[in-house]
Symmetry: C3
Subunit: 357 residues, 3 copies
């Protein structure tokens, strides 16, 4: 099986609050990594295997800003260099573990598993709503037992809301409304407007709470994919005819479903999501209620995604047909494939530099 | 590993009462199927994978007599044809899932996983005792972790009763009594008479309850195999010398152990069994007692069969020796092999027709 | 993956007390064996698979000194020969199961999985302290999920005590003290003296209990490896300057950590260990306390060893670097490799003789 993800990309490794001054193990794109925060607040990501006998460094302990291996006590600093060995004064010059570039942004810790020389922070996906004070919300991490692209497919076509989430955000309008798809070099956007419809239960509740409005709505879903695995979805409803499709959302309620899905292995992924809104931003209870509500809805997706992965494993030769509704996910797949192809035809990916951090 | 079962055969998929107006998933001969009963009572068997993204249809729901996929809402009718897709009017002409021929008979739902054109109901194995009013009884389904032929082997040589079931139906007479084997094109029969013996605990109880008789018995076991996987065993005892071996069973008690064993995978099977009798047929308590008694006895076999499968897996190259007692199972294996060979030398098996049901 | 252990060697299969007049199944060097003790006390080891249908003989029962298979009742004697079959008078001359040479010594049952003609009891590793009346102690069996050589590596370099067992037997002195390594044809010895040091908690307690001494100590660790998998470690402390390094241990306390590690599969092993001492040998409570204390310490190693095996599996191509501290384990690996190489270049290993016992 060939690799289904590029290595030269920023991937969310954890929420910022997950990483403290202690060892935190996580596998990203098939690479075992250990993360910790140094005294100065900077986050370090090292390969989670001691240079000497491969014991996971995450089984050891921190000594100041250095990691002590839990087997023979070799010590590595935050650049991956070995600074101490038992019973010997001279350290082998090769004694170091790979270090991965790390940046904190938009409340996530991003790591670059590929060639460190290419790790340009400007390439970090745009999820700024997650820390923008005009927006409030919260999210969670799901460990999903499927290839990360199945989650992307799921998000690129919200038709499934009607069938998977019928009791909350789905209704027949979603499956029936027309949509159009545009794309750039690294992005693809699916836009769907459902005008003059009855709001589904979730949105009916939100617009009534926020605006006291009951009645037909214009609903929008603007799904923006940024390769290889980030999907920000602009969602909301406004009173029907109040001008939202034309750009005036002032009487409506608007949220963003922020999603970034990091491959763990070919068949598992870390799915980070948040739901943020720009109305009633100071209502802490609403933040919690929305997070728990979305969590329940995403649990419905999880069961579907795992069953789909099992079915794909059982039919390795299956040729898939695409429907109209698959236009968005076809574009996301194409952009991912382009990134992977670029890595194999260009100069071979360099092994992560040691002491590059 | 080559396939150990023919595809062009009827296999019991479930007890008739297992299939209701709801989705029921079961794998038969390596094929995932979903079963349901339509409003008119007819049973449908479809491949359990949506044409679009392979999600098991059994994760969806019935809408009338049609199945709605639980992901994107494609709808399939009982012939496997897609009748609705989200967001599009024109349906892809290829949009259908394979359908498998189904017949209900002898209290089982039979399915034909091979070429539908060959699915002749006259080929359904004879288990008529299971619904004949002259016989009463009940049975169960065992999910056994072994190749189906190991269950057939087990049934074709009842010598094992002495060693596996010593406390109920086994005694030394079974292992010592002579037997003879005959065979036809699709059947093999092992006949064993044990004349003038002490009845084993199970049969001593039955003949005393039914006939008030205590004393030596003539005991019979007539094992009839019908390829590829059905074994009906005519069993009973009569007072010694009362003429049973010559054909007069009127003073004895007679039962049938009905068995049909459906491959699930190469290493697992669905084992359907029933025990029926032609004495005290109105005693409901006896029916329950017998079913639970046989269930306990078959539990002893299950442990042996699973251990045997594990041992075979650990010795893939092992050449087996056959003893006299293996004559019956050698014939059953030969008849199975003939069915499999016929499939590979004749025209290749056609992929199940879509909309053949 | 090529085999990592020689077959022509004695391996501890069990503690002597584990083997009674009942069937006991254990896999040794990838071979499933069934052990039992005959009426005369002799231990028998047979392949744990019936000649007829491979059912594990350990699922059957003993009838006197013979094993009755739990499926069809074939009977095998302690030499592996079949002595009875159901329904037939003439026994197939080939009907026997392989038998493995067995010797009881040093409180262990030793088995030879290779060519029985080479099974010379003089080759049994020296663990005589385990039954010598001058020494008292007890031990346990650990089922470790790692290749047996990782346990040997662990024992050949006690530097790890400092990092894995810091609260009991480890202190910085172990990681810092010099050591030297010698070797013979089948043995390698690592000697480390730590003179005038503070005793670690464990030994401080022992020498105070036994000799009433508190104060600095001379500590020794003399690790003797006997290929392929036995490690006897002479350990102890004596008052600093009382002459222990020069040979007078009379004022000190001395123990032996006895270890023999039997491959089960390539990735699992049976690790037999005991701790014996030559002081306060009649204190039963101390024997129990020491055994439980060592058991807790070895539990710390177990977690490290399993994690190391997983890391090796995840990096199959990894080339390991060796440090000074690895000198002992490099010699043990070299002696093991020599034994394995001898088996492949000499005449091919003969299949275990049937009836060789």
């Amino acid at each position: 099986m060939s690799r289904s993800f590029p290595l030269n990309a920023w991937y969310a490794a954890a929420w910022d609050s997950d990483i403290k001054h202690e060892l935190f193990a996580r596998t990203i794109c098939g690479k075992k990594m250990v993360f910790y925060r140094k005294s100065d607040g900077a986050v370090v990501a090292l390969e989670d295997a001691c240079w000497h006998r491969l014991l996971p460094l995450s089984m050891g302990r921190l000594d100041g800003d250095e990691v002590v291996c839990g087997y023979h006590g070799l010590v590595f600093d935050g650049s991956g260099r070995c600074t101490r060995m038992p019973s010997q004064e001279t350290l082998n010059p090769s004694a170091c573990v790979p270090v991965f570039p790390v940046v904190e942004r938009h409340r996530f810790v991003w790591v670059w598993p590929g060639d460190p020389a290419l790790a340009d922070p400007a390439l970090i996906p745009d999820l700024h709503w997650n820390h923008d004070p005009a927006w409030a919300g919260d999210g969670r991490t799901i460990h999903a037992k499927c290839n990360y692209r199945l989650v992307v497919d799921n998000l690129m076509d919200l038709t499934h809301e009607t069938f998977v989430h019928g009791s909350s955000i789905g209704n027949r309008a979603v499956a029936e409304a027309p949509f159009h798809v545009t794309h750039g070099d690294r992005t693809a956007t699916v836009t769907r407007w459902m005008e003059g419809i009855e709001a589904p239960p979730f949105w009916a509740g939100q617009i009534f709470s926020a605006r006291g409005y009951r009645g037909p709505v214009d609903r929008w879903q603007i799904i923006r994919f940024e390769a290889p695995c980030t999907v920000a979805i602009d969602v909301g409803v406004a009173p029907a005819g109040s001008g939202a499709p034309q750009g005036d959302r002032s009487q409506g309620v608007n949220g963003f479903v922020l999603n970034t899905i990091t491959p763990e292995t070919e068949k598992t992924c870390h799915y980070f999501w948040a739901f943020v809104r720009n109305y009633m931003t100071h209502e802490q209870k609403l933040t919690t209620d929305l997070r728990e509500g979305v969590r329940r809805i995403f649990g419905e997706d999880e069961r579907v995604l795992e069953a789909q992965q099992e079915a794909i494993d059982a039919h390795p030769e299956h040729k898939f047909y695409n429907l109209n509704i698959d236009a968005g996910s076809m574009w996301s797949r194409r952009l991912i494939d382009k990134m992977i192809a670029a890595e194999s035809t260009a100069a071979p990916v360099v092994t992560p530099l040691r002491r590059a951090g």
